[in-house]
């Protein structure tokens, strides 16, 4: 009974949880978190700051303005244009870390010196190492002594002009100085510094450093080991410098913006920070660092991760419009776009977007975003405080959720069935995902819930797989025993008469010799119940194992034939009186309830009448069947059945020598049946034909006995409702009369579906029955009088060409004078008939006994008075 704990579900769940915990910092799970973060960013929507505009150095600009890098004169000119347009801040993301020296410039300078033009010192070659490249002050040229006159003077002037035109750095610096609102990028090399810097940074860089930082010293910003700064003449005139470093995740995606970098003992803000500060007329002094928590800029509090990295918001393009207005550099440069109108008081960011210029980066919303756009998103995030925050308590929440999920896997899930377990897991997963996205989109909180999600999914799948494999193994083990128990259950169901369920069970058992016997018996049972299609199915199943088993070949072919002919007609719409006996008699004797069907006796209105035998007591019976399911709509079937059995029960109570005894009633599948006394002889119909009439005294005797029987039945509260010669059985030799079919008429009486059948023979109906009133025994007696009339003269008292005419005659006109049809009817009987067929029930004979007595008396009176002529007629005939 005991099994090792390592096989239990809870232990399995624990192992999965531990594995996931160990792997939670792995690349795989972290990239899941990052993906979820990206999707969260995509799902959020915020309005970008409309004060930001981007001027893109795009492919068109390069095509028109020449190969990159451009002469700095172009930048200078652009700065002049923007300065003229009174923009708030210009952020130029182009790195000016080396002096731009035209190859001819040095010679110009030398020539100028040689000509005594007091040329400026040529700039030395740029230093590749970090640190500010020292450069000669080119602007010294501006302060040159007055030019000598004459040809030399002219020459020197040209040289000066050339010098001035070629010294683009000075042009740019002049332009920046005039603008007084240009911010430039620096580029740090990330990594732990090994020692001390080569040389201190120049003043124009250090003035951008952030003054002091508060907070715990163990949470420091990202360290850097080297820096590239703009060349001195340009850097000096920039209003601020900020780093343009990105710190991509391992997948190369940029999701964080390091707001502050540490360069040895100094903290330098990012360019986005500086631009934001500048746009609020603040400077580096207004940037306060709270280590491990965030950065404050004036009134703005920017939450960051412990390394002072902000999760910037990335604004989606709305309706195909870019988040930030972006124009081509060339368009602005050539004046195609009116800078003063468009950029007034804006924060203008200039940067390259052209292919092959600068490096693009992966961001949550774009697979290739140029740095200038990333900068735009960051600036907007800072100024509007649109950034995602991973709060310090997030760690606790994440681990707590992980623990809860682990508990769920260890404690709850093993106790749930597969269905509820899957539902609950799906529910929890949905809850976690929704929480994640709702927090991101509405609260801008980033709680990393993907590891718990992964644990949930992996754990659930692992547990389900384990269970499946365990049950699979158990299944193989138990297959044999379950086959045996299925066979036993099959036998049990067959014993209880539930053949279909027995068949279901047997079908699950692999076929073997002993099972063949059981199946054979089942098939025979199906045959006995007339379910030939199912019998055929069983035989076919058996034939698959051994087609030569006993006589199943012939059984199969016969069952097939029968299932096609008999059962298909049971579906409704077929003939109602199809025989249940197959031809050839080779079928197992069919059973109807407890009766064996021996042969068919005849076909009635609603079904076949069979000769049946009760094998237990050897009684031979007539079985009248009615295919109720075919006669009635499914909706009223239940009601009809109930009425059928109620009527059968009522009729079964009648015990009279002139009433057919009912033994039993029941139903089997679609057939309702009544088992009754088997009678010799037949009904009275043959004696109603002119020329085959019985003698009058015989007729009177039969009808009088019928009236006795009706009188008895009426006293029992049973009304026949369908008295006619066809329902009175008569055996000439033994002179026995029996009324049959009590109650069955009632069934068809109120049938709505088969009205035609009810109205088929209204010839015997009483006026009140015809008009649908409530009827009593006197209605039966009226019908009996009609039968008497018919048997006396061979014609019906009321006849009509149409149904309407017939009904009118029954209800309103007197019967045809019987003497015109048979003049030999005695006068007493004529008078009797008149009263018995009165339209008003109250005027008729009130009971069966009264009817019988009056009839006998009328006949005996007539016999005495008309004895002679009657015999003479006979002799004449």
């Amino acid at each position: 009974m005991k099994s090792g704990f390592w096989k239990t579900d809870w232990f399995f769940g624990l192992v999965v949880a531990l594995l996931l915990l160990l792997g939670s910092n792995s690349d795989l799970l972290q990239s899941l978190e990052r993906k979820a973060y990206d999707m969260g960013v995509m799902a959020s929507s915020r309005t970008p700051l409309d004060r930001i505009a981007v001027i893109a150095i795009d492919d068109a600009s390069i095509a028109n303005l020449g190969r990159w890098p451009w002469s700095r004169e172009i930048h200078a000119k652009m700065t002049d244009i923007l300065a003229g347009a009174k923009v708030k801040v210009i952020g130029n993301t182009v790195f000016f870390t080396e002096p731009q020296v035209d190859p001819g410039y040095q010679y110009i300078v030398k020539l100028l010196a040689a000509a005594g033009g007091n040329a400026p010192v040529a700039p030395p070659a740029p230093e590749p190492v970090a640190g500010a490249p020292v450069q000669a002050d080119a602007s010294a040229a501006a302060a040159a002594p007055p030019a000598p006159s004459g040809e030399l003077g002219q020459f020197i002037a040209i040289l000066r002009e050339a010098e001035g035109a070629l010294n683009t750095d000075r042009r740019l610096a002049d332009s920046f100085e005039r603008a007084r609102n240009v911010l430039l990028p620096m580029f740090f090399t990330l990594g732990d510094p090994r020692g001390k810097p080569d040389k201190p940074l120049p003043e124009y860089v250090t003035r951008n450093a952030i003054a002091g930082a508060q907070g715990a010293q163990d949470n420091l910003p990202l360290p850097t080991s080297a820096v590239q700064v703009p060349v001195e003449p340009i850097g000096k005139v920039a209003v601020g410098l900020g780093h343009l470093n990105a710190n991509p995740d391992v997948d190369g995606g940029i999701r964080t913006e390091p707001l502050v970098l540490q360069y040895f003992d100094q903290f330098y803000p990012s360019l986005s920070m500086m631009i934001a500060a500048r746009s609020l007329n603040l400077g580096p002094a207004d940037i306060k660092v709270r280590l491990g928590e965030g950065v404050t800029l004036g009134k703005l509090r920017i939450g960051t991760d412990p390394a002072l990295q902000m999760h910037p918001f990335f604004y989606k393009d709305v309706d195909g419009r870019r988040a930030f207005p972006t124009d081509s550099f060339f368009d602005v440069y050539t004046g195609k776009i009116d800078a003063s109108k468009k950029y007034r008081d804006k924060i203008v960011l200039i940067g390259a977007t052209a292919t092959g210029v600068g490096s693009t980066a992966v961001t949550p919303i774009s697979p290739a975003m140029p740095p200038v756009l990333t900068l735009a998103h960051s600036v907007s995030s800072i100024l509007q405080e649109h950034f995602f925050v991973a709060p310090t308590w997030a760690w606790i929440v994440e681990k707590g959720v992980f623990l809860l999920v682990a508990l769920y896997l260890v404690v709850v899930l093993p106790r749930l069935a597969a269905g509820p377990g899957a539902a609950l897991t799906a529910g929890i997963l949905a809850a976690l995902l929704v929480t994640h996205f709702v927090l991101m989109t509405t609260q801008a909180l980033w709680i990393q819930l993907m590891v718990p999600c992964a644990l949930l999914v992996v754990g659930h799948v692992a547990l389900v797989t384990k269970r499946f494999m365990m049950t699979e193994r158990a299944k193989v083990r138990s297959d044999e025993s379950s086959a045996e128990s299925n066979r036993m259950l099959g036998l049990a169901y067959q014993g209880q008469g539930q053949l279909d369920m027995a068949w279901d069970k047997f079908r699950l058992v692999p076929v073997s010799e002993p099972l063949m016997d059981n199946l054979y018996n089942l098939a025979l049972d199906f045959e006995r119940k007339r379910q030939f299609a199912k019998a055929e199915g069983v035989f076919r199943h058996m034939a698959g194992f051994n087609p030569k088993f006993r006589d199943i070949e012939t059984k199969l072919s016969r069952a097939k034939q029968l299932s096609e002919t008999v059962m298909l007609s049971g579906g409704g719409g077929g003939k109602t009186n199809t025989s249940i006996l197959g031809d050839g008699g080779s079928v197992e004797k069919p059973m109807l309830g407890r009766y064996q069907i021996e042969k068919e006796l005849g076909k009635g209105a609603m079904g076949v009448v069979y000769l049946g035998k009760d094998p237990k007591i050897g009684r031979v019976v007539a079985i009248k069947t009615m295919a109720l399911a075919q006669e009635f709509e499914a909706s009223e079937l239940a009601e009809v059945k109930e009425r059928f059995f109620r009527e059968a029960e009522t009729a079964g109570r009648l015990a009279h020598q002139n009433i057919v005894t009912i033994y039993d009633a029941g139903e089997e599948h679609d057939l309702a049946y009544i088992a009754m006394e088997l009678l010799k002889g037949g009904d009275l119909v043959p004696f109603t034909k002119p020329g085959a009439l019985l003698p009058i005294d015989k007729t009177v005797s039969i009808i009088a006995r019928t009236a006795d029987a009706l009188g008895y039945a009426h006293k029992q509260g049973v009304i026949h409702r369908d008295i006619k010669p066809a329902n009175v059985m008569y055996h000439l030799e033994s002179d026995t009369v029996k009324v049959t079919d009590f109650g069955i008429a009632r069934l068809t009486d109120s049938s709505k579906t088969k009205t035609g059948m009810v109205l088929g023979t209204p010839s015997y109906m009483s006026p009140e029955q015809l008009s649908g009133q409530k009827i009593d025994g006197r209605s039966d007696l009226f019908s009996l009088a009609v039968s008497l009339y018919l048997m006396l003269c061979g014609k019906l008292p009321f006849e009509g060409d149409t149904m309407g005419r017939l009904m009118f005659r029954i209800s309103s006109e007197p019967p045809t004078d019987i003497l015109t049809l048979n003049p030999n009817v005695p006068a007493g009987i004529v008078a009797f008939l008149d009263r018995a067929m009165d339209k008003e029930p109250a005027n008729r004979y009130q009971t069966g006994e009264e009817f019988a007595a009056a009839l006998r008396e009328a006949a005996s009176g007539a016999a005495q008075s008309a004895n002679e002529p009657a015999t003479s007629v006979d002799i004449q005939l």
Partner: protein, 273 residues
């Protein structure tokens, strides 16, 4: 509640040394605390059909019933539901077997003895028919729980013969009640308290005819710590003594208390267990 960690159940069945067929059938449903043992009788293979039907029908049907109700609940007549469940399912099995024997000639006359033990709420409901037995080992005392429905037992009860004479009686195997012989049957059903440490032994007459009660008792007290071994040992002893009949043994040990979880909290804890 799931009793599979509370009841330790081991079982074995063996055709014995003489007979080629095993007409005994055993079944257990540890989760529902149900064990069933039947010893079939009847002609060619029919005995094993009868006993197989009995154990299968009863375990299947009771498991189905118990999925909807708790056995300790009371029905509208204030009768404990377990009694009714056991009785009704025995009757159902009886009808099934009887009808199968009636309708299929090769099974005619088959029948089976029956033991049904249903554990619930620190109690055990024992239903039985025929001469298969339930014994109980409690605190070292070994006692017979059921009274055989056999001619021999009736003779002993009415004082015609003594227990000593009974051991040598000729007509040992005439049962007065069995499942599947008649259209109706009246099973004997009693409820007993069960205690932690009790060992219940269900066996067919193949064991108790071959091995004396003393030997069974001794075996259980010696090997009671290892039910699996005890089961095998009992079967082995029957076979060593001749093994004239099929021998089946089920041992059930109560490891812990198992009161019915009636309150919400106790149901929750029972679920957690």
């Amino acid at each position: 509640m799931d009793l599979s960690q509370i009841l330790e159940i081991t079982s074995a069945t063996d055709p014995g040394m003489v007979r080629s067929h095993n007409e005994d059938s055993i079944a257990s449903d540890p989760a529902n605390g149900l064990v069933v043992l039947a010893d079939g009788m009847g002609g060619y293979n029919a005995g094993e059909v009868a006993s197989g039907m009995a154990t299968t029908v009863i375990t299947t049907e009771i498991a189905q019933v118990l999925s909807g109700v708790q056995p300790y609940e009371l029905d509208d007549k204030n009768e404990i539901l377990a009694t009714r469940i056991v009785r009704e399912q025995i009757l159902k099995a009886n009808t099934s077997i009887y009808q199968a024997a009636q309708s299929q000639p090769q099974y005619s006359g088959m029948g089976t003895t029956l033991i049904v033990c249903l554990f619930y709420d620190n109690k055990v409901m024992v239903g039985h028919l025929g001469d298969s037995r339930v014994y109980r080992m409690r605190d070292g005392k070994f006692s017979q729980v059921t009274r055989d429905h056999s001619l021999l037992q009736e003779q002993i009860d009415s004082g015609l013969i003594t227990a000593e004479q009974a051991k040598t009686a000729a007509h040992k195997n005439l049962v007065t009640k069995a499942l599947g012989i008649d259209p109706t049957v009246e099973p004997e059903i009693h409820e007993y308290d069960s205690l932690v440490g009790d060992i219940y032994l269900l066996c067919s007459d193949g064991l108790c005819d071959m091995v004396s009660d003393e030997d069974i008792s001794m075996t259980l007290s010696m090997l009671g710590g290892n039910l699996k071994l005890a089961t095998q040992q009992l079967v082995q002893m029957a076979n060593d003594n001749g093994g004239r009949d099929n021998v089946s043994v089920i041992l059930v040990r109560v490891l812990k208390e198992y009161p019915a979880a009636r309150g919400v909290m106790s149901k929750f804890f029972a679920w957690l267990k």
